[in-house]
């Protein structure tokens, strides 16, 4: 069991570092955002394996990713976008898209519908969580600056 978690962590950490180079992430943020991405995936795996609900796993993991991105952005004084993108990379449902397409290729229409819906819901969960957390932090910050003025 432990070796699988280790595999997940190492593979995720490395894959995100190289993905960050594709996205031209500033060098200062490279290591820390890859670490938060790997931890995000571990959060997903742990929750998915313990309560066996994919949706809750994705919800918790993307909450973790968005919160850590906002905190890192405040700590490093960079836009939150720079930390959000790397953190959600391992959650992007490539597996779902592939399975959906595979069902279509095999002309398994009920499989296509169920896999497609699942993929859509998962990507919706990730995107909405990230957007809501981001908007929440932004509105808090705005209120603070208004109060200062």
């Amino acid at each position: 069991m432990f070796i699988y978690y280790l595999r997940d962590f190492v593979a995720c950490f490395g894959a995100t570092i190289f993905y960050c180079i594709i996205m031209q992430l500033p060098k200062k943020a490279l290591w820390i955002s890859s670490l938060s991405s790997a931890l995000t995936y571990i959060v997903y795996r742990v929750i998915f394996l313990s309560i066996s609900s994919e949706y809750v796993g994705y919800l918790a993991a993307s909450c973790f990713a968005a919160l850590s991105a906002e905190i890192l952005a405040r700590a490093c004084k960079m836009p939150a976008t720079i930390f959000i993108f790397p953190a959600v990379i391992p959650l992007v449902p490539g597996l779902g898209l592939y399975r959906t397409m595979l069902c279509l290729v095999r002309s398994d229409m009920s499989g296509f519908a169920s896999e497609g819906t699942k993929t859509l819901i998962i990507s919706g969960i990730i995107a909405v969580t990230v957007a809501v957390v981001n908007a929440f932090f932004r509105s808090i910050l705005k209120r603070k600056t208004v109060a200062k003025e």
């Binding site: 595999r7 593979a11 190289f18 180079i21 594709i22 031209q24 500033p26 836009p79 592939y98 397409m101």
Partner: protein
């Protein structure tokens, strides 16, 4: 008086350049609007900016109260977080009074053509990232994983090299995505078929990860939540288009393989 008009012109150019850099590099629409407005306000002019994923419109009042406006169209959109971060930092230091307007314009012009990681580095990085994603999606850990990682590296690096080649550089994103995923599936199927070992599923999933539109979908929902409804809708359509491109490119190869008697 003449000097004043010139100054407003430069201000407009600078603000538009900043907005265009943020847009081209995959920043949120609201950030592009915010940066353009902040630059104009810091230069002492009233301004209004409307930014869409495909272009930016900007109107500034000059010192006589006349309105000057400019529109610019964007054709190529990618993800370049270095440019987003720098454009943000430059405009903030301008509004804090640390650099002058002409310095800001110079910095932004340099930034627009600057490269942080070279083309070769990006191609190698996408290959390595695909290899590690393939490892991540393996159902069991054994020696065949190494073979899968090698195939994923080769397929993705080659497809990225083709996608970034000069001939395809200015063509539509859909075409490039379709072609890249077609190549990935073709290489994977051929290698696994002729060698007899390897896991097609994990190789293909790992290899298409660098192409997936997860980031533009996240941006789409963020734009929608923040009230930029038009940008949000356009980005959702863009995301769907890319996803269909990937699924189509891989699907064509798989259908052909199954019709030739292969099993997936």
């Amino acid at each position: 008086m003449n000097n004043c008009v010139e100054n407003t012109d430069l201000l407009l150019d600078t603000a538009q350049l900043a907005a265009l850099i943020v847009l081209e590099s995959g920043g949120e629409t609201s950030r592009a609007e915010e940066i353009a407005t902040i630059i104009c306000k810091s230069g002492g002019r009233d301004a209004e900016a409307i930014v869409l994923p495909t272009g930016a419109f900007l109107t500034v009042k000059d010192c006589e109260g006349k309105k000057i406006s400019a529109a610019a169209r964007i054709k190529i959109r990618g993800v370049n977080l270095y440019k987003v971060e720098r454009a943000n930092a430059y405009s903030r230091s301008f509004s804090a009074g640390k650099i002058t307007l002409s310095e800001l314009y110079e910095n932004l012009t340099k930034l627009r053509s600057s490269i942080l990681y070279s083309k070769t580095a990006v191609i190698l990085a996408s290959g390595l990232s695909a290899a590690l994603f393939a490892l991540l999606f393996e159902p069991t850990i054994n020696l065949i994983c190494l073979f899968d990682m090698l195939v994923a590296f080769g397929a993705t690096a080659l497809s990225q090299w083709v996608g970034m080649s000069s001939r395809l550089k200015n063509s539509y994103q859909f075409t490039v995505t379709f072609l890249s995923s077609f190549l990935i599936a073709l290489i994977t199927i051929a290698t696994v078929h002729f060698s007899g070992i390897g896991n097609i599923d994990s190789i293909i999933i790992g290899s298409i990860m660098p192409l997936l539109p997860g980031l533009s979908f996240t941006n789409a929902i963020r734009d929608t939540v923040m009230g930029d409804l038009i940008s949000g809708t356009i980005r959702v359509v863009e995301t769907l288009l890319i996803a269909i491109g990937i699924a189509g490119g891989v699907g064509v190869v798989l259908i052909a393989y199954m019709n030739m008697g292969g099993t997936i």
